[in-house]
């Protein structure tokens, strides 16, 4: 089947990436790769939620932020080791995704997008104002939280790689599974799916929670890496936007689309953002318009040959 090709390629690349740091890769490149891995991870999560079901989530950063804060608080106030804290971040995000997902996933189209955006923005505002309002010293509001110093970049390189493999792997497994068929059916024709026996709400919520868990985990990892977080940083809607665009570019709903899209845009950002900060975003805007008008399936998705359905 045509999936063997990209899968084999991906595995090969991963194996190569496992050993490249030892070949004397520069610190800059290690950091760049780690950044790319984590963006692939984030985009992959968004893709699990939105790419498959067609419900465009504009609040994904909410879970990333929750994960960041849970991890930061556990590490600073509870002195809990990093890995446990990050996993806790993922778990809390996943748990919160349930009461948020259940009502919102019943909404259609634009309303789901607005509701999820409202959720993420509300989280940001709450974390900014909570301490002041309730008069405690817990979330630290706009002052932010400083985490303990972390290990060198290589550590995050490998964690990023692991997460990327996990997310891509899970997407791959989902795609060919009963669950994956349910999600795709929902995207194509939700009512018909429901009438064919698909428990649409359950499937949507499950995808949403899986995505939220990993986003929370990644949030925790990046909080540790950044060493300092504020609500504005980790609940930044631009993070969601990046996830959306990377998915679009690579191909919504495909397994390797996020890999291609995230890699391309992260590198583009690296090249542009120092000298031409606004240009990156303007280009992203044009990419979006271009893709919608010319190549709606993204780079990977458009490789579906006419008349035959290839599963990528």
């Amino acid at each position: 089947m045509s999936r063997r090709g990209p899968k084999a390629l991906f595995i090969t690349i991963v194996l190569v990436l496992l050993i490249t740091p030892y070949s004397g890769m520069s610190g800059y490149l290690i950091r760049l790769f780690a950044t790319i891995f984590l963006w692939i991870g984030k985009t992959g999560c968004w893709n699990i939620i939105s790419g498959h079901t067609g419900y465009i989530d504009f609040g994904a950063v909410g879970y990333y932020g929750i994960g960041s804060y849970v991890t930061a608080l556990l590490m600073t106030k509870g002195h809990v080791p990093f890995l446990v804290s990050a996993l806790a971040g993922g778990l809390v995000s996943g748990l919160i995704a349930l009461p948020i997902g259940l009502p919102t996933l019943r909404l259609r189209g634009a309303y789901f997008g607005i509701a999820t955006l409202a959720f993420a923005e509300a989280m940001k505002q709450i974390l900014l104002e909570f301490d002041k309002t309730v008069e405690v010293n817990f979330f630290e509001g706009p002052h932010g939280i400083t985490l303990p110093m972390g290990p060198p970049n290589e550590f995050f390189y490998y964690i990023g790689l692991a997460i990327m493999v996990a997310v891509v792997g899970i997407t791959y497994r989902i795609r060919g599974s009963k669950f994956g068929y349910a999600l795709r059916a929902i995207r194509e024709a939700e009512l018909a799916a429901e009438l064919s026996g698909v428990d649409t709400l359950k499937a949507k919520v499950e995808a949403y929670i899986i995505g939220a868990f990993f986003l929370g985990l990644i949030g925790g990892v990046e909080a540790y890496w950044l060493t300092y977080i504020t609500p504005h940083m980790v609940f930044d809607v631009f993070i969601t936007i990046q996830m959306v665009v990377m998915s679009l570019l690579g191909g919504i709903g495909t397994v390797f689309g996020p890999v291609v899209g995230a890699s391309f845009l992260t590198i583009l950002y690296e090249l542009l953002h120092r000298d031409f900060p606004y240009t990156y975003t303007i280009i992203v805007g044009f990419i979006i318009v271009g893709i919608v008008l010319l190549m709606p399936k993204g780079i990977v998705g458009t490789r579906t040959t006419k008349g035959r359905v290839r599963k990528i």
């Binding site: 067609g54 465009i56 009502p103 919102t104 019943r106 909404l107 259609r108 189209g109 634009a110 309303y111 997008g113 607005i114 509701a115 955006l117 409202a118 959720f119 923005e121 509300a122 505002q125 709450i126 900014l128 104002e129 002041k132 309002t133 809607v237 936007i241 959306v244 679009l248 606004y278 240009t279 975003t281 303007i282 992203v284 805007g285 044009f286 990419i287 979006i288 318009v289 919608v292 008008l293 709606p296």
Partner: protein, 289 residues
């Protein structure tokens, strides 16, 4: 008690302002089903047109309104005609991704060209207030409020009494039927978008007299327009007034009695609840997909 009344009045004035720039958003969604994510950028463009005309040519802000209305109408018309019309038949997701792309392009190009500096339009009357029994009513806001009512009423009348308006309504209600009756759907869409843009531009021009003008101001306006229109009912023009008032009053009261920052959180929580409990809006006349 005085504090409450002042807060309430502030909220109502604010609400009228919200309504003025949300009506266009509701119109576009109601007729075409397009959620226009660069809506806030049209407010921004209107504000900047006024800013430049005021700063460079010393034209009074309220006199720049026709110019900004016309410019935005043309802009909206062209965008719809040449770009958005191509995706109007596609699933809604496509149109909001597309409009989102435009948001990035417009906002960041403006940022690049005009820099991030904050600007204000300060006229002779900018700071003047009326004082009625201890309650302060800023003139500029009050005039804007009245203008907002006029604009919304005008839009409503246009839609119901003019031929173009009726063609628009027909298209909104039943596209195929309208087409069969000889209506050029794509032209109507372009006109509608132009109208929505023009109204929003007018609002932007008026706002420049007391809100800060800067290229990134757009997104919060888009978000507030979402909120207003969900509260009042998507696609239902008078609903923009209801939604605006409710939002304005809620924000004003939470800012006065709780904290300014929390009023932001409240807005989003209110929006979230409305979407789940009553997506058709307070009066229940909104379009639910």
């Amino acid at each position: 008690m005085l504090l409450f009344l002042q807060s309430l009045l502030n909220g109502i004035l604010l609400g009228g302002i919200y309504a003025s720039y949300s009506a266009g958003f509701s119109l576009i969604f109601g007729v075409m089903g397009v959620v226009n994510i660069f809506h806030g950028e049209m407010v921004m463009l209107g504000a900047f047109i006024t800013y430049w005309m005021f700063t460079l040519f010393h034209i009074d802000p309220f006199l720049t309104i026709p110019f900004s209305a016309l410019s935005l109408f043309i802009f909206g018309y062209l965008v719809q005609r040449f770009v958005i019309n191509r995706v109007v038949e596609a699933p809604p997701m496509i149109s909001y991704i597309l409009t989102f792309g435009f948001h990035l392009i417009i906002a960041y190009t403006a940022l690049w060209v005009w820099t991030a500096d904050f600007r204000t339009v300060t006229t002779g009357y900018s700071g003047l207030n009326a004082d009625i029994g201890g309650i302060i009513i800023p003139y500029a806001r009050f005039v804007t409020f009245v203008l907002a009512l006029i604009v919304v009423a005008g839009l409503y009348l246009l839609l119901n009494r003019s031929e173009v308006g009726r063609a628009i309504q027909a298209t909104a209600q039943d596209k195929e039927m309208a087409r069969l009756m000889g209506v050029n759907i794509h032209r109507i869409y372009a006109i509608t978008f132009g109208m929505g843009a023009a109204i929003t531009g007018i609002a932007g021009s008026m706002l420049s007299t007391y809100f800060i003008v800067f290229p990134q101001m757009g997104l919060p306006y888009t978000i507030i327009a979402f909120c207003v229109v969900v509260l009042g009912g998507m696609g239902y023009i008078p609903g923009a007034l209801w939604g605006g008032m409710i939002l304005g009053v809620v924000q004003s009261l939470t800012a006065t009695y709780l904290s300014a920052g929390l009023s932001g959180a409240f807005t989003f929580i209110l929006l979230f609840i409305m979407l789940i409990v009553r997506p058709a809006g307070i009066v229940g006349k909104g379009i639910v997909e």
